[in-house]
């Protein structure tokens, strides 16, 4: 079977599993990985093993074992490799997110943002706080959290309801797909070999541009359509009053609330700074104090340790709240690990799927076809592939996981012509269009905001699509101006 045909079959299998058989994404990706691995001929495996051996990546023993391995063993290995790069991170991020919510820290972030820009510009505060909270917390949780505040704000002003809803969506959804440690960006960065600081900085830049574009679009829509708040079953007006009236004193202070989000970035960045400094020394010995702190910075600046420390801070913050005992902390951790565990399973099986595709020898074929194409060609293709998978099956994370498996060979083949972080951004932006009924996030928005399906399709869907396109535009511009190669 030609590698590209295998590739087509692989994507078709994932979509067939999720859409027609309604399989869980974990099972669909795993099944596709098994099929692709079984279809890979022994000669291809041997040539991959020889190439890695020649490159000095593998020992002779490792290469022999790989060439002789069964398909199931290769799938399990791909699964394990991915779990190694993202497993601990996602588990810790899940704990951080849950603690931010339960401790009221997330609430504090939103309120502070509203106070900062003033109540009249509350929508901008929702956009910003949605973006910040969307970094460690999953999209639907952010939406659940800020939506009651948006409703409460509407009760006061009686206008701009649609703007509030769309601002929250715009902020949270961009961070969710572009800035690690949410699972999608995490896996994409790992597969493309992009370090987390580069990924985070690029994601914040591109994400902010796209989110602001989406916000502008939301303002236009808001002037054209007037959608009132409809009474929904889950949250009565009285509950909303309670949300507003909750005294500020019950929430943790802002600096503490932001620590679990900011700390890991600072720790990782300190390690990156140190490494850059040491590289630039050019043989001259580093200063004595630098040498003394190097082991410490290396250790706490590792992404796994940085997030573990942040999780420790977040848990301490939660347990320090009045009325929280060890039992409720243990329950919160258990619940977040259960949720995080499923995400790890899906993401790791996506990694196994990607590994199976790469071992099918697709990189060489694509390279031959692209013939040294350029970023101007590759980035839109990446965007389109991701958008296709997203539209077909609904989940942005699964779309990114599936697409990066297909597209990672492009980054390796040298056809890119720019830093792989741009490819990661294009994939993240491609996961935005098209939000419709296949997407669980779409339903979360409708349910929580009380929009009808038609209203959702007229507002949320075009806005996310436009954000994706703006993000792609910004990415291509960046790749053109600063290719960083």
């Amino acid at each position: 079977m030609h590698p590209v045909a295998t590739l087509g079959l692989a994507i078709a299998l994932v979509l067939f599993g999720i859409l027609a058989l309604r399989l869980h994404a974990f099972l669909a990706l795993l099944l596709a990985a098994f099929v692709v691995a079984s279809l890979t001929p022994a000669e291809t495996l041997r040539s991959i093993a020889d190439a890695r051996l020649a490159a000095g990546d593998w020992t002779a023993k490792r290469a022999d074992a790989f060439a002789a391995s069964t398909p199931a063993a290769r799938v399990a290995e791909g699964f394990g490799d991915t779990a190694a790069s993202i497993g601990i991170l996602i588990a810790m991020a899940a704990i951080i997110g849950k603690c931010l919510l339960d401790s009221g820290a997330a609430d504090r972030v939103v309120r502070s943002a509203v106070n900062l820009v003033g109540q009249s510009r509350a929508s901008l505060a929702f956009l910003g706080s949605g973006f910040v909270l969307g970094i460690p917390v999953f999209f639907d949780t952010v939406f659940y959290l800020i939506m009651p505040l948006g409703k409460a704000m509407w009760l006061r002003s009686r206008r701009d309801y649609l703007l509030y809803v769309l601002s929250i969506v715009a902020g949270a959804t961009m961070a969710h797909s572009l800035v690690p440690p949410t699972p999608g960006p995490l896996l994409v960065a790992g597969e493309l070999g992009v370090d987390l600081v580069t990924m985070g900085v690029a994601g914040m830049i591109i994400g902010s541009i796209a989110a602001l574009g989406g916000y502008g679009f939301a303002r236009i829509l808001n002037r054209r359509m007037d959608i009132p708040l409809r009474e929904s079953a889950d949250l009565s007006i009285e509950d909303l009053e309670a949300v507003i009236r909750k005294p500020d004193a019950e929430l943790p202070p802002l600096w503490l609330a932001l620590t679990p989000i900011v700390l890991p970035f600072l720790l990782i960045a300190s390690d990156v700074t140190l490494s850059t400094y040491l590289e630039r020394l050019d043989g001259a010995g580093p200063a004595a104090w630098v040498e003394a702190v190097t082991p410490l910075v290396r250790t706490i600046g590792d992404k796994n340790v940085a997030l573990t420390i942040a999780a420790g801070v977040a848990m301490s913050m939660l347990i320090a709240r009045p009325g929280v005992d060890r039992k409720s902390l243990a329950e919160a951790v258990r619940a977040s690990l259960a949720g995080g565990g499923v995400i790890i399973l899906i993401t790791s099986s996506g990694g196994a799927f990607g590994a199976a595709i790469r071992q099918g020898g697709v990189a060489q074929s694509i390279e031959a076809m692209a013939g040294g194409g350029s970023a101007a060609l590759v980035l839109p293709v990446a965007f389109l592939v991701t958008a296709l998978v997203r539209t077909a099956q609904g989940s942005a994370t699964v779309a990114m996981i599936t697409a990066v498996g297909v597209l990672a060979p492009l980054a390796e083949s040298g056809a890119l012509g720019c830093h792989p972080v741009y490819l990661a951004m294009a994939i993240g932006c491609g996961s935005k269009p098209v939000a419709w009924m296949a997407d669980s996030g779409f339903w979360v928005i409708l349910q929580m905001s009380g929009l009808t399906e038609a209203e959702g399709l007229k507002t949320v869907t075009p806005m996310t699509g436009i954000m994706g396109l703006i993000g792609l535009g910004a990415t291509m511009l960046g790749a053109w101006l600063w290719p960083m190669v």
Binding site: F26, K61, A72, V75, T82, A83, A84, I88, L337, G341
Partner: protein, 575 residues
């Protein structure tokens, strides 16, 4: 920073971290184990840049070995429950054994169901049956519930794919088929002893059946709503059969020793000695090594017969694994004897033309069958197949919509996700302990297994050590699975560098000893204790007098059987 920390101190800090974080801080076992792994790795020797990444890599390696299997087993378990397949298995046992031996039937059902399903779920399913049996017979309530606990607990700790045995097999490098077979061999006698204890405890301490608040007795489904037995047992039997068939076929194919030299292979006995007779053999070349080995063998250089060459080859050359004694340059330590012979034979065949040494045929019909079995008998594949079967079974029985099935799968994956995190973190902890080189220190302290007459003896002591460590961990923190994964990590680090040869028996017996230890001393900190007491309506005192000693009996018998089998049936050739 280059100060070396004594390995035993590292071990102590590691254990103290795990137990302290779980007991004192009441943190989730995942956090405790991953923190302990990071701490141990920081203290163990190695370049600073790799100290954290090796934890993540070990975490991923464990997740790769056990993650898919545990997730799929959770799906299979849910489907067995929801489709009524589990009910069918219980009713089959009851019908075959009759109401008189109902407790044996309950034990048997628990034994079979706990292979893929978690203990508490098995117990939830079977307890209502015990209660309805009591309503009909009016006696032996305690015997019924203890019988259920006995069957469920023993396979949960000894037979994969439950997480504990799965990770023990991964840590100790045990083939999963061997682990299943030896696990069952140890579990069966223990379960029989446990059943005997159940009868004895029931006579000494009759317990009435009390109404259990908050739990409505589920109405048993009609018999015609359950799947037929063949289909019901398929999701359990299929993976067990595929995995063990792979193991058995591989053992059979290995026992052919297809790569050994027979006299007919040596076409030209005189030509055989030619190349190695030269005086100026380059040192460290395969030919020089072969020359030295044949000198050791005392081969008659003047008139060698084909038979003598074959014997010398088989006894002194082909089976060599050591770095300075094997012809093949590959790493042979994880290969079976037959594979080692093949690797060395391939080197021989490069040295000699076909006119001197005939090429061996490796791909015999049996080997080809075995290779095929390796494709489908891989645990990941076998369980994926079984998960597909069990989901189809659920669709067939319940006519569930796809949405409902998706929801059930999501739920099973949520419970499996936590277990996978804990287990993989335990795997990382064990791997970091190995980095600390504790085994070497102990070898120096107690003398290595090379000492004359010592072979085998220190190995048996390790069985007791594994049992003891696991029992202490169990009493301290309560979870059998955490006890097993932590203890197997520690024991793997203790195993002498010479591996199986120094042990003198198959490492699967170590796993069963550790598993047995994890049954010792279950009390109020064990969630299984509460599941048993609450679901059967026993007071805490009654549970302490019935459940706790029952597990003690299971664990003790398990250890004894492991010891006996390790001596009587060491199976070193399999490892």
């Amino acid at each position: 920073m280059s100060m070396e920390i004594h390995p035993l101190i590292i071990l102590a800090v590691g254990i103290a971290t795990v137990v302290g974080m779980i007991l004192v801080l009441r943190l989730n076992a995942f956090l405790a184990l991953i923190t302990a792994a990071i701490l141990v790795s920081l203290m163990a020797p190695g370049p600073i840049a790799e100290k954290i990444s090796r934890v993540a890599l070990a975490f991923g390696a464990s997740a790769g070995t056990i993650g898919i299997v545990i997730a799929l087993a959770a799906i299979i378990g849910t489907c067995l429950m929801e489709s009524g397949a589990a009910d069918r298995i219980v009713r089959f046992f009851l019908r075959v054994l009759g109401e008189k031996r109902a407790s044996t039937a309950l034990m048997g059902s628990g034994f079979v169901l706990a292979v893929p399903v978690f203990f508490d779920t098995v117990f939830y399913l079977l307890v209502p049956l015990g209660r309805s049996l009591f309503r009909r017979t009016g006696t032996h309530y305690l015997k019924y519930v203890l019988a259920i606990a006995c069957g469920g607990a023993i396979t949960h700790t000894l037979v994969p794919p439950t997480p504990g045995p799965l990770l023990m097999a991964a840590n100790l490098g045990i083939d999963l088929g061997v682990m299943i077979l030896i696990g069952i061999a140890v579990a069966l006698p223990a379960a029989v002893a446990g059943l005997a204890f159940a009868g004895w405890a029931d006579r000494r301490m009759p317990v009435p059946m009390r109404a259990i608040g908050g739990i409505t007795e589920p109405k048993p489904p009609r018999d015609d709503m359950l799947p037929p037995l063949g289909l019901a047992i398929l999701p359990v039997a299929l993976p067990v059969l595929l995995i063990t068939a792979n193991t058995i076929l591989k053992t059979m194919a290995d026992s052919e020793h297809a790569a050994r030299v027979v006299a007919e292979d040596v076409v030209d006995a005189g030509g055989f000695l030619g190349p190695i007779g030269a005086d100026d053999l380059p040192p460290d070349s395969p030919l020089a090594l072969l020359n030295a080995l044949l000198t050791d063998a005392g081969l008659d250089r003047d008139a060698p017969s084909a038979e003598a060459i074959a014997v010398a080859m088989n006894e002194h050359v082909l089976g060599n694994r050591g770095a300075d004694r094997a012809l093949s340059a590959s790493n042979l330590s994880r290969m079976s004897d037959a594979e080692v012979e093949r690797a060395n034979r391939l080197v021989l065949e490069e040295l000699y033309p076909e006119t001197v040494l005939r090429r061996h045929e490796w791909e015999t019909p049996l080997r080809r069958t075995s290779n095929l079995a390796a494709l489908v008998g891989d645990a990941n594949f076998a369980l994926l197949l079984s998960a597909a079967v069990s989901m189809l079974l659920l669709v067939r029985q319940r006519r569930h919509g796809r949405e409902e099935i998706a929801k059930l799968v999501e739920q099973s994956l949520m419970s499996a996700g936590v277990i996978i995190l804990i287990t993989a973190a335990g795997g990382a902890f064990g791997a970091m302990l190995q980095q600390a080189q504790i085994g070497e220190v102990l070898e120096d302290a107690f003398g290595s297994g090379d000492a004359p007459g010592a072979a085998g003896r220190p190995g048996l002591i390790l069985l007791f050590v594994g049992f003891g460590v696991s029992a202490v961990l169990k009493v301290a923190q309560g979870s059998s699975t955490v006890a097993m994964i932590t203890a197997s990590g520690i024991i793997t680090a203790l195993i002498p560098t010479a591996g199986v040869e120094a042990l003198g028996y198959h490492p699967a017996y170590l796993a069963t000893a550790i598993g047995s230890g994890s049954l010792i001393g279950s009390w109020m900190n064990d969630s299984g204790f509460w599941v048993f007491a609450k679901m059967s309506g026993l007071t805490e005192a009654e549970a302490l007098k019935s459940w706790t000693p029952l597990l003690l009996v299971l664990g003790t018998v398990g250890l004894i059987v492991s010891l006996i089998l390790a001596v009587a049936l060491p199976l070193t050739g399999l490892a």
